[in-house]
């Protein structure tokens, strides 16, 4: 985001907003990830503790999710840039 078009106080407000949002989004990511990996990996309740399989599965689930969202981010940025370009041409 281009911050140069904002005045000093506006920049401060935006920074505060972004900080809050980052925190909120991170907490959401965390709780979604726990739920996702728990649902996909833990289906056997004959024992209270995570089995080795469930543990490996959950670890892979987290690792894979991070790579997944990184890849989506890369494609997302490309598509977004393309769209902005098309818009600029139309104007």
């Amino acid at each position: 985001m281009d911050f140069s078009r904002f005045s000093g106080p506006e920049r401060l407000q935006l920074n505060q907003y972004i900080q809050k949002k980052e925190m909120k989004d991170f907490m959401q990511l965390y709780s979604n990830l726990v739920q996702r990996c728990f649902e996909d990996c833990s289906n056997d309740f004959t024992s209270r503790a995570l089995s080795t399989n469930e543990k490996t599965c959950s670890e892979n689930c987290v690792g894979k999710f991070l790579k997944h969202s990184e890849r989506i981010g890369a494609r997302f940025a490309e598509q977004n840039a393309e769209m902005m370009e098309q818009q600029a041409k139309l104007r």
Binding site: R5, Y17, H68
Partner: protein, 95 residues
């Protein structure tokens, strides 16, 4: 998201709930951030559901998953464009 309806821009102008002391520019900037992050999280969730195998044998994306994700994002954007165009057509029709 300025690509919706050809960059409405004025969308937040009529927002009566604008916080006191928060300028119009800040409001539209936060709305834009909100929309972009919302779109991103929708993409992450949809494409995860459609492309990622749930057995998690490996923590790396396999080839099929990677290709699927690339296409998934492309298709999502194309769909969004299509829907935008259809809605625009609908709007332009005389009532």
């Amino acid at each position: 998201m300025s690509f919706l309806f050809g960059g409405g821009g004025g969308g937040s102008a009529a927002n009566p709930s604008a916080q006191i002391g928060q300028s119009e520019v800040v409001n539209s900037a936060t709305t834009e951030i909100e929309m972009i992050t919302d779109l991103f999280s929708k993409l992450v969730n949809s494409c995860h559901k459609k492309c990622i195998e749930s057995n998690y044998k490996d923590s790396d994306l396999n080839k099929a998953e990677g290709v699927c994700l690339d296409r998934c994002v492309g298709k999502y954007f194309e769909t969004s464009k299509l829907v935008t165009e259809q809605l625009q057509k609908l709007q332009q029709q005389p009532q």
